[in-house]
């Protein structure tokens, strides 16, 4: 990117109208991918000059234990519902989860899910990192996921969505193919980098369960209806990508998982959805360029 410039220079303008039509495998009109964030938040992380990890003095009991619910209870509840309706996961992984709770990572692997990096911990922020430091977390991510799962990560979602001006250049240099950090489009789009080839894949803030429940204050049933409406429109338009970004400690709560399952059941039964993983979407898009 152009560091310090008003336009960061991430991509060229490309109007949605009159684009080359993208057709997904099997003639499907909307590629639907589910992105569970499998995370580890530290109870007592070191301070970062630009962002506080917790709202309260450590230990922030509710903040920490709410997120710990994922790794004790709700990961399996969420994952079972996804598997039941044929949705694989593309995991946004705090790679230190491979050390802390390898049982959770192993469960995702057995289900055939794809892993990409969401940093080391979701309580370590990238702002102000030197190039060497940022290289270290990328190399750590590649090595840790490879050792734990046998997979080579192909994508990146910055830890807690924290970046430097060089993050995208660096992940592309290391051979990563997609970023989930840019929200400018409903289709896969090329991203400008210094070296390497990088695309943006639509992740989503707007239908992210965190936004649904804590920014827009939706009830569980309202959130499920939101997913259905988002899907319906994107499937009508065609060549689109719909991501459902999740956190088990939110979507896997007992009052939310039932309505969420109904949304998955609806999307799976519609017939126009390609239920797939992030890397497969990038491959299918690349093949049509």
């Amino acid at each position: 990117m152009h560091e310090g410039a008003p336009d960061p220079g991430l991509y060229d303008f490309s109007p949605y109208r009159d684009r080359k039509r993208i057709v997904w495998p099997g003639g499907k009109s909307c590629a639907v991918w589910v992105a569970p964030n499998l995370e580890y938040y530290e109870v007592d992380p070191p301070p970062h000059p630009k962002r506080k990890a917790w709202a309260r003095p450590h230990p922030d009991v509710v903040g920490y234990s709410h997120r710990d619910h994922s790794n004790r209870v709700s990961h399996w509840r969420m994952a079972d519902v996804m598997s039941k309706h044929g949705f694989p996961g593309s995991v946004s992984l705090s790679v230190a989860l491979c050390q802390h709770h390898p049982e959770v990572v192993a469960d995702a692997k057995v289900r055939g899910w794809e892993f990409f990096s969401h940093g080391i911990y979701n309580t370590r922020y990238t702002y102000d990192m030197s190039e060497e430091q940022e290289r270290a977390i990328i190399e750590d991510s590649i090595a840790t996921v490879r050792e734990a799962t046998g997979q080579t990560i192909r994508g990146w979602l910055a830890p807690a969505l924290t970046h430097t001006a060089h993050t995208l250049d660096l992940i592309a240099e290391y051979g990563l193919e997609y970023t989930c950090d840019l929200y400018h489009d409903d289709q896969v789009q090329p991203v400008k980098t210094a070296t390497g080839k990088l695309v943006s894949i639509p992740y989503s803030l707007e239908v992210n369960d965190h936004y649904g429940f804590f920014i827009y204050n939706m009830s569980p049933r309202e959130y499920a209806e939101t997913l259905v409406r988002q899907y319906e429109r994107l499937a009508d338009e065609g060549g689109t990508v719909m991501c459902i970004p999740l956190h088990a400690y939110l979507i896997g709560q007992p009052h939310r998982i039932g309505p969420f399952e109904e949304a998955l059941r609806y999307i799976a039964a519609d017939g126009r959805a390609w239920l797939t993983k992030a890397g497969d979407i990038v491959d299918a898009w690349n093949a049509q360029q």
Partner: protein
């Protein structure tokens, strides 16, 4: 391209607690589905635990160490919030007591100990109806967090338990911190004070034991009236619908689960909201899978199976 000057300390990329299990030593990791199943009384699958927060807010907030949710908001004197909160102790709580009697529900009342001195009639009405008293600090200035001196925290816990014991004749065995906020030493202080279980950690849906022997009975804040109605601004009808959806899901998980209904008199017991809770309680109490239980009963049943 030149990089900006490095300002991030090299130790920021060191991870001394990156290891199997947690980055703390308070409790062990385990996944709920891998544990020995729990069976509730009469083989019911869902223990429905009604827990009421009974709170008295001094009109003079002390902010030591922090201001409790629901506390005073305007410049002194904040009649608006002082009285709107105290409404719960005069009017709202009696609506709840009637609703519990009508549904045949025994609840846990997480009670500020000064309530027992200020409103002895109320506490006598709660105890005589067979409900459980859980210690809930002294009053809503009695918050706990790192930064509160350990001696002050120890004294706060002792004062709460002593006052409630004096008023009710029974020393509470359960503890709920204000805003579920603890310091690093709270679990040890509670254990040494003779507390059997706390309700502060929301990471599970069954009781579990801290390494020091204290039991945690999770009181899910996501399912509370404060979260759903006050924070997320949803209606009482939506709250009730969400509890029904939660119950149905938990009942489908076959082995013992807990549905905590955490309600606050000044929130849920307003005239236009209480009806939704009354209907919910009658409906849940009639479900064949439901065991309406207090926190203490759930702990007894769970512990006997460990």
């Amino acid at each position: 391209m030149e990089r900006a000057a490095v300002t991030l300390d090299p130790t920021y990329l060191e991870y001394p607690k990156r290891r199997h299990g947690y980055d703390h030593d308070l409790y062990e990791w385990s996944a709920i589905h891998a544990r020995k199943p729990v069976f509730w009384r009469n083989n019911k699958s869902v223990a429905v635990w009604v827990c009421v927060s009974l709170e008295w807010f001094p009109i003079t907030p002390s902010d030591t160490p922090f201001r409790a949710p629901g506390h005073m908001q305007t410049a002194y004197p904040d009649y608006r919030h002082y009285t709107a909160r105290d409404y719960g102790n005069r009017v709202g709580v009696y609506r709840l007591l009637n609703a519990f009697a009508n549904a045949g529900v025994k609840a846990s009342f997480a009670t500020n100990s000064v309530i027992a001195e200020r409103y002895p009639t109320l506490v006598a009405d709660i105890v005589s109806a067979g409900h459980e008293i859980i210690a809930h600090s002294t009053d809503m200035n009695g918050t706990i967090a790192t930064g509160l001196p350990v001696d002050a925290e120890r004294a706060l816990i002792a004062k709460s338990l002593d006052m409630l014991e004096r008023a009710t004749g029974t020393r509470p065995t359960g503890w709920l911190s204000i805003a579920r906020s603890q310091s690093w030493v709270t679990p040890d202080l509670l254990k040494r004070a003779g507390v059997r279980y706390c309700c502060d950690w929301v990471n599970d849906e069954l009781p579990y034991r801290f390494k020091n022997g204290l039991i945690n009975l999770p009181l899910n804040h996501e399912l509370s009236d404060r979260q759903i109605i006050t924070v997320q601004q949803q209606s009482a009808d939506s709250y009730a619908q969400q509890m029904r959806d939660a119950f149905d899901w938990l009942a489908s998980e076959a082995t013992g689960r807990i549905l905590p209904l955490h309600v606050t008199p000044y929130i849920m017991a307003l005239p236009y909201r209480i009806g939704a809770l009354e209907d919910l309680l009658i409906e849940l109490a009639a479900r064949s899978q439901a065991w309406m239980a207090t926190g203490g009963e759930i702990i007894d049943t769970w512990e006997a199976q460990q």
